[in-house]
Symmetry: D3
């Protein structure tokens, strides 16, 4: 009996968070291990569905790099990376659209549907959702069909969330001519969060969070600290663009941005419903 009373107590501990986040929008970048491990996939789908049922508005933006890579290799198509971005010729882009917009997106929609959520698959090409310009590399180098988000038309997303659906968005943007572009999923999620005035931007990653020089997790950064960490070289590699996304989003009005460890089951719920947190939170001050 004690066990089930503990259970009830845990449910009630969630109440202050449910109250605080009621009807708020959460933009979640879904990627990495959490997209590959079967058990983590199920826990993610359950978490998102639960968020929706208790009155929050989750919006998913997913990645899919490994799945793209695998299909390219099956097709015998060579591929290269510059500054962490895949050089994307027209043929590669065709594969990107198929894999992200077709297979990966549909799989996430199914995952959520199986636990009772009403998910709808979208790509950034739907209704001008994600508008981009062609990315220009650091040295003016052209990476092909790689896009930088410029404008987000959020009306389709809010129609969805307002009717109880969970949008699942593939990070493909369109330029003015409707041509598709590969977009970094973190950047897409960040821009969408900004446009929606989201409560939280949450980036699911395969690391613990932002670490300090001594490899210790920094659980909280205000904007000043985050900018300092970017400036003094203590943050490196793939973490740099992620932290930049967080900083820009918070500066643009998103209440908090999070880089969390997607390798932990139910990382989303833990982040949202406990004080512990699982990763690094960035906020204005």
């Amino acid at each position: 009996m004690q066990r089930i009373i503990d259970k009830a107590r845990i449910l009630t501990e969630a109440l202050p968070y449910i109250r605080a986040f009621y009807d708020k929008t959460f933009v979640i970048k879904y990627g990495g291990a959490a997209m590959l491990d079967e058990s983590l996939k199920a826990s993610f789908a359950t978490d998102v569905t639960l968020l929706r049922y208790i009155g929050l508005r989750p919006v998913i933006v997913h990645g899919g790099g490994p799945q793209i890579g695998e299909m390219l290799s099956r097709l015998g198509k060579e591929t290269s990376f510059v500054d962490g971005m895949r050089v994307t010729d027209d043929e590669t882009m065709e594969v990107v659209e198929m894999v992200l917009g077709g297979r990966v997106n549909a799989e996430i929609v199914s995952l959520i549907g199986r636990v009772g959520g009403k998910a709808v698959g979208l790509t950034g090409k739907d209704c001008g959702l994600l508008q981009v310009t062609r990315h220009v590399g650091a040295d003016g180098r052209d990476l092909g069909r790689v896009g930088n988000p410029t404008r987000v038309d959020a009306s389709l997303i809010t129609t969805m969330t307002g009717s109880g659906f969970i949008p699942v968005i593939a990070p493909i943007g369109a330029d003015e001519d409707g041509l598709g572009y590969n977009v970094n999923a973190d950047m897409a999620a960040a821009r969408i969060a900004q446009e929606l005035g989201a409560e939280k931007l949450i980036l699911l990653t395969d690391v613990e969070g932002v670490l300090d020089a001594g490899e210790k997790l920094r659980p909280r950064l205000d904007l000043e600290e985050a900018r300092a960490a970017l400036g003094d070289g203590s943050v490196q590699g793939g973490m740099i663009p992620k932290l930049v996304c967080c900083v820009e989003s918070v500066a643009a009005g998103v209440t908090t941005a999070h880089i969390i460890d997607g390798r932990i089951a139910h990382a989303l719920l833990l982040e949202i419903f406990t004080d512990v947190g699982v990763g690094t939170l960035v906020r204005a001050d």
Copy 2:
């Protein structure tokens, strides 16, 4: 870390119940120990508020016998009981209205408000909510201002629940002339549940539930079994009218009716969100 992962798992275990009960109405008779013990009071208020936030529609009907008795004795007013009902002369009724509609009702509203729920205190006299006729005792004996519910006008309740409020109802009814009557809270809750087509009628009591001859809890009764238990004398005393309320409600379309043990913290949540249950459930078959 394991502890907080367990925590998240428990939250997700609630998901199927949240999905199943979304937007459904739960009429809860609040009384007994759960109204007297400070810790149980807080757990009740938290449970009800949580139900509301996650999308259910709780409606509270409360008792208040002990508080009425205490005030009558402070006023030096004698009182007597017939068939478990308080003989209620006009002076006693005045005290009943004050204590139930004033003190007890307001205290419950405060309790819920303190944990963030938006509770509104009502009595059955508001807008013809609970209409009664004068009760006639078994032998034609008049018990004074004791009323039997005849009709419920639920429009005020649904206006409230439709706007996110939690109605807290004192079991005082009015006859055709607007005169107030003392109504048994279980009966009031049962009639309101029937009118609202509630998903559940839940009676919080100070006992484990319906027991069999060997004093063992009977966790589930279908209508036939419940009627048999009432007919063969295995149910006795104060449990009889409670079980009758459950049977009548289920027969009138309430999905399930519950007699649960209010002495257990978070009994409501356990009943609603786990398969264990804490008491006796009555259902059609």
Copy 3:
């Protein structure tokens, strides 16, 4: 026949007022003789119901001092007054909540219900309706559970009036911890009127209105005149706080505030629907 034609003419004379006040909110402090005399009670209930049916939005705030006093004396509880306010210890407050929130409030709800109005009883503790801080007497003296209104959350009231209900509010406020406080009904009504941006604040009293030095009624005061009357000592005793309520309300945007003679049958209708008026009107200029 002439008689019934006169009747029709009188109805049509009300038209300009009905047009002018359509959908406007009227906060009415109900107290004094109008709450004690059976015939005046009936005329008040009819007036309020009529206002509602012809499209105005009445909101009632009631007093109940005599009824509290009577119950305290029945309970053998001594009570004292400082600056016209009842010193309210915890035990007294319990009685205040019972009498105001229970008996008096319910009686007014019944009165209105009997002539066909849909009244709902509320107290300021419902949903944070009336938030208070503990009153500090002139000389720093503590009067116990006496509260000064600080904030009004009018959402519950507007939900009610928007659905055709007449809110009847007992002047009990809550502090941050949800603890109940006795609030002066005039002050409660004034604060609620200000929050609602009411068309009129109407204080029903047992006097003719504001009198001048020669004991003659002053039918109209602009803010300057009203402040002068408060400053030069021509207004005295219990009329001072009432006039202060009117001045503050008008200064805060209530179109007109009225101190009227509740001893006259249908004083409300006369005030609202005729040019004669029955008491003193305060307006900006």
Copy 4:
């Protein structure tokens, strides 16, 4: 003072009627003396506006025979009557449309507007409001552009009344080709009342009501009595079609139909808001 208290009392006496008729539709045939006498015109406009403000839904259908006759004679156009209906050639119809749809209709709209009502002038040709077939006289005689109402499309009227407007309808119908026809205003009002499921059909006339053989007013007729009166010849002349309109409307579901004396000021209010009544009421039983 007594006089103004009487005034308030009269207002409150209207309350039960206001409650009973709230949101109900009243189709009023406006014609005869009430359209010619300046004082009666003003009293009619005031009554209708008052009805609207206190929550009823008046719909006006007006006549205009005298005004048409006067214009025809100014134009030197001869005209004749058969069975009380004007023989209407194309040239006459043109005048009918101008006078009814132009001058008379606009004057009524102005009258109501001047006392604050929001009236909108319509003719039965607007949006298929009043559809007719060509009338065939008793002996197969053709009366020209005289129409019998066949179908009413009430959507325009309900759009109007639902937005707070008072429709003022000229009794001109259209056949399938959109050609205009002169329609008897009583018949038009009756058909519109039937289509709207009106609470009351009220025909303003220049007589006291239906009289019995001894020339005494018959204040109330059930359907059986009304049909008997039509059958036994006790009702004669112009009263026959009016009573037929009432009988058909009540038989089709209009709650009550009234033939009232429009020569009395405020006849409408008296009929609606007092028990006295001013004319003959027809009801189902």
Copy 5:
């Protein structure tokens, strides 16, 4: 087959215009030849109905000078003009109201109804739609009941267009006392367009448009050019007030104003759905 493919192509060429003008309001002054020639009348009615069905909001204001003149002469009533405006004594005004508000208005409503549009006839006297002051002639000369538009209450029009109806408005205004006035239809249309914040004001005329000194059509004028044309005498006669209406409307926020040649079948559609245009367009710059 080629012919019907051409047909489809023409339909699709309208798409960019339909997209651009969706839900926008078009105020159209209907007059001149387009009101007299049977074939042009039919083409006008079809055009307006088509506009409504494809999602635009047409509002018609019509003239009727010739019809008024004809009726006055049938009545043997002399009439004179000053500065292009009819001197309107009370008797003349009566005829104006009848002819414009009765015959002409009803005919347009019928025309539109016959091709399936839901038209509703209004005059500026309905619900204070068009409020005027008495016009004073250039030399202080009184022209009688000729009015200058001062205020437009557009709520009736937007109720109509919001419910899918096409308002057809006779240019009769009312002064403060509700007295009717003859208003120039161009001016009425211009004022209504301004109040509605219309996309286009379109004046149907019997000329090609604004001509230059060489009698050549000027297809486009910005505000500066239009004012210059008015100032330098190159625009003369009846075109002056029309161009003034256009200039004032564009200055007040109407996107474009058009003086088009109503003698061309489907001039409205051509103006709205092609780049060719048929007349003179005035825009801000």
Copy 6:
């Protein structure tokens, strides 16, 4: 000038069709040449967008067989057909989902977006839109992941069309476990049309329509004739299942079903907006 007048006339000829089909749903199976030829693709996108703007509700279901075949061959994956259906093993299904749900669907969304339509890409896996059971071949042969539509949940589609969007649906269904299945696009479109109670089901094909024995087009078939044609062998090959889809849809309440020649530019508009029609129409009688 004559040319542009012809243009306007053509626009107005569409009016009766626009009126008749306003707010009606059209389910269009998009496939064949119309999906491959650049000019036909553009004409299709324009047609669909035009339909939406003028108030109809198009819903697109697309095929994609050639694109799937091409990708399979690029991947070196063999494929076979049974009864015209592709045998679909798990690996093939993965490709189907990618190609249909990713590339083809996104391309159609882009096409429509480029001409200003607001298209949203969906697959039948979104929110239980298209539920299937595993297809069993004629001789009990298993074709792998080929599904027969069983149930359609249209709520997502109607949310979309109700908000002005154009749903573009890939014919992939899900079984109870959320597993994806390849569904024949004609059958998917037919089932969706039935569930939506569509006005028209339109199948775009690469043939003229249903031909008779003499290879002459049969422009119209009632249900009896269509069933006869299926029974007597005059319809053969791929036309059989298409005609079956039409018959079943009309029998289930779709007003008309069409097999049209998608090789003609603007075939959709011609079918919907002219009396000529371009193919075979099936209707109840």
